[in-house]
């Protein structure tokens, strides 16, 4: 299935491609490796750019979320101080990770929970499957979780005869359509209301035959469909947004109440969590519970947040298992220049502002982690050669919105340089991906408002300058800087300078 021309950095195409033989509902199917699937980025991007419906769906959705986020972030007077604190807390977590994980384990255990350690996806899936089978059930309910998407837990459970029912509305849509998520927060962002209605009518089994495409009706259909499952489920599986080392408290942030159902009603709860999800103290939650909702759904606070500490006798699940997942995270940690990718709290603000993501969509990245954060995290987690670091224009918008200040453009530049040094991405291959990204973003450049957002390229360049001079540009600029230095660009774009000047008048 791989259509790439034998370049060393291409994905091997061990999964369906977005433009290959879609089913009647257009799902891309479930790949073998959730971090590495589909066509190469340029091919997938080309197919996406030719799909008008997809572009409209993405354009509408990202525009909506950008304006919501901007409004609720704008009303927080100490937003920058919160970002500084959030970034520092995550840095502190990484520096003290072994002792904090041991502290978390001690506290969860003291409160009646059981802690498991999983080196990779297969080990995590094995642990979860054995726990579920011990409960003699063949169906579990699931809360939306990136960690379980990353390890392909649902597919692993299916092989053991266990049905994992996704209960988040968007995850349900993706699951019913035999599709892959295309966004970290809103996995079905590539689908519009009419497509969702068609998916429900064809696959849900108990959708009302006269279902319309009014969002409220669609949500009600999901409520009715899942209620019986919630009331009878014996085992639930969740991820975690935060785990507090000094108390053993876990937190899940959600909107619909499906999370509360899963975390509260079944007798047994299994939580799968990446080892970087820690915060040292309970008090640190006050920072992230402000940063996360405003950055992700653009709300002052998400409708529901659940926190639990081990087992509470008589209230909620009486058996609790916590699976701590590595699956490549220690590889990221070993990378001094790139380890801050582990600060990520999966808010997805960087996807929503990215001119490339907005045009090509999540599937083009071939990973459950798409967009700017996916372009750095995916190759770091897998440790494989990758052309994803070239799938960006380095406009810098992702860094500006990141609530924990991950400098994604600088890490992209670093990863590109490394690929070249390793002989990973050949100049031709890299050039092709870079061009695909620029072509996607050219739409942004053609419009005034979009251009202002994207016109932050010079700021990204400043990040790699030394003493006011840039010695080496990332490819393909390196062809130019090979024989000359580039002066550091000014701190302000002309647009910004003009706007400021007008404001002062």
């Amino acid at each position: 299935m791989s259509t790439f021309l034998g370049m060393p950095a291409t994905r091997t195409g061990r999964g369906p491609s977005p433009d290959a033989a879609p089913g009647t509902l257009g799902g891309v199917g479930r790949p073998e490796d959730p971090l590495h699937w589909g066509a190469s980025f340029p091919d997938a991007a080309k197919a996406a750019l030719e799909n008008d419906q997809l572009r409209r769906n993405l354009g509408n959705a990202t525009a909506t979320i950008r304006s919501k986020r901007a409004r609720v972030v704008g009303e927080v007077p100490d937003w920058e101080a919160l970002r500084d604190a959030g970034s520092a807390i995550k840095g502190d977590v990484l520096a003290r990770l072994p002792e904090l994980l041991e502290e978390l384990e001690r506290n969860v255990t003291a409160r009646g929970g059981v802690v498991h350690w999983a080196r990779d996806a297969a080990e995590a899936n094995r642990i979860v499957a054995d726990l579920v089978r011990a409960k003699e059930t063949d169906e579990v309910v699931k809360v939306k979780s990136m960690a379980t998407q990353e390890i392909g837990l649902n597919e692993a459970l299916a092989e053991e005869g266990i049905a994992a029912v996704e209960t988040d509305l968007a995850e349900l849509i993706v699951q019913l359509a035999d599709d892959m998520p295309s966004h970290i927060l809103v996995p079905a962002i590539h689908r519009n209301r009419t497509e969702i209605r068609d998916i429900f009518l064809e696959r849900m089994g108990d959708a009302p035959p006269d279902l319309t495409d009014v969002p409220r009706e669609l949500a009600m259909a999901a409520r009715a469909h899942l209620r019986r499952k919630f009331l009878s489920a014996k085992v639930a599986i969740s991820g975690a947004n935060f785990a507090v080392a000094d108390t053993g408290t876990l937190a899940v942030v959600e909107s619909e109440g499906n999370g509360r159902m899963c975390l509260t009603l079944p007798e047994t709860l299994i939580t799968v969590m990446g080892i970087e999800k820690l915060v040292p103290t309970y008090r640190d939650l006050e920072v992230f519970l402000q940063l996360l909702p405003r950055s992700s759904t653009g709300e002052r606070m998400n409708p529901y947040t659940s926190m639990w500490t081990g087992v509470t006798p008589g209230d909620g699940p009486q058996e609790f298992h916590l699976v701590l997942l590595d699956n490549g995270r220690t590889k990221v940690l070993a990378d001094e220049a790139g380890r801050s990718a582990l600060h990520c709290i999966r808010c997805s603000a960087c996807l929503n502002v990215c001119p490339v993501y907005e045009r090509v969509g999540g599937h083009a990245y071939g990973s459950v982690y798409p967009g700017p954060i996916g372009a750095i995290l995916t190759p770091q987690l897998t440790g494989e050669k990758s052309d994803l670091p070239y799938a960006s224009t380095l406009c810098g918008a992702c860094y500006e919105v990141c609530p924990v200040k991950i400098d994604i453009p600088s890490i992209l530049v670093e990863l590109r340089a490394r690929e070249v040094e390793l002989g990973g991405a050949s100049p031709d291959a890299a050039d092709r991906v870079w061009k695909a990204a620029m072509k996607a973003a050219s739409f942004a450049m053609a419009d005034g408002a979009r251009f202002r957002r994207a016109a932050r390229v010079p700021r990204a360049l400043r990040a790699i300058s030394r003493h006011g001079v840039i010695k080496r540009l990332p490819f393909p600029g390196s062809l130019w800087t090979r024989s000359r230095d580039l002066p550091e660009p000014p701190k302000q774009t002309f647009h910004d300078w003009w706007a400021e000047r007008e404001d002062e008048r």
Binding site: A85, L101, L169, S255, G257, Y282, D284, P293, P303, T312
Partner: protein, 212 residues
């Protein structure tokens, strides 16, 4: 197979190696508290604004008028209450079947699904985010009771309303082991074209009685 725990901790230590960043102190220049006192008129005004924005129904009443309000909201039907609820609140109820749920004598999820409404107290409320926090104490009950019935009436005393998230977290930090539910409006989803729709799996109607 070597022990996963040992190997993961060893991988982490190796990854950090000699380049381990010094554990630095975290800058906490953000607001630890708002400029207005808990329960002040300014704080209450913000809370009401936020709750209404998220489609919750807000009722500001004097303590003496609470039983009347609850009678009006609950109407004929069934209601579940936690064991430690103030009995005086329910004094005005007529034609309402009242079931009590507790950790010792819990109703099943199916039983809760057959009940129309739930009345609980709250632990703390955050004005700036329009959030109410329940901590599972006897006046708030098990987490399931405020989840399964379709109508949640939450009684919040005005002196429980703080302005900012950090003020609430510091208060909750006194009992970090309690199971918490943070509620900001009725259940909602933005999964269809990022358009917010109220009412999915949690209670579709949230009434907040702000009692002075």
């Amino acid at each position: 197979m070597s022990d996963a725990r040992t190997e993961m901790l060893s991988r982490i230590r190796t990854a950090l190696g000699t380049s381990t960043p010094e554990a630095t102190s975290v800058p906490r220049e953000y607001r630890a508290a708002g400029e207005h006192a808990a329960g002040s008129a300014e704080v209450l005004e913000v809370l009401v604004d936020r709750l209404v924005d998220y489609k919750a129904h807000v009722h500001q009443v004097a303590a003496a008028d609470l039983p009347g309000l609850l009678a009006e909201l609950l109407g004929p039907g069934s209601v579940v209450v936690p064991p430690g609820i103030d009995a005086a609140w329910l004094a005005g109820l007529a034609e309402v079947e009242v079931r009590t749920d507790s950790r010792e004598a819990p109703l099943s999820a199916v039983e809760l699904d057959g009940i129309d409404a739930v009345v609980t107290a709250a632990r703390v409320a955050v004005a700036e985010t329009g959030t109410i926090v329940l901590d599972g104490e006897p006046d708030q009950g098990r987490r399931a009771i405020s989840l399964v019935p379709d109508v949640h009436v939450c009684v919040v005393r005005t002196d429980q309303v703080v302005q900012t998230v950090p003020e609430a977290v510091r208060l909750l930090d006194a009992d970090p082991g309690r199971p918490l539910t943070w509620i900001s409006g009725p259940s909602a989803t933005s999964d269809i074209e990022l358009d917010r729709v109220e009412g999915v799996h949690g209670p579709r109607t949230l009434h907040v009685a702000l009692v002075s």
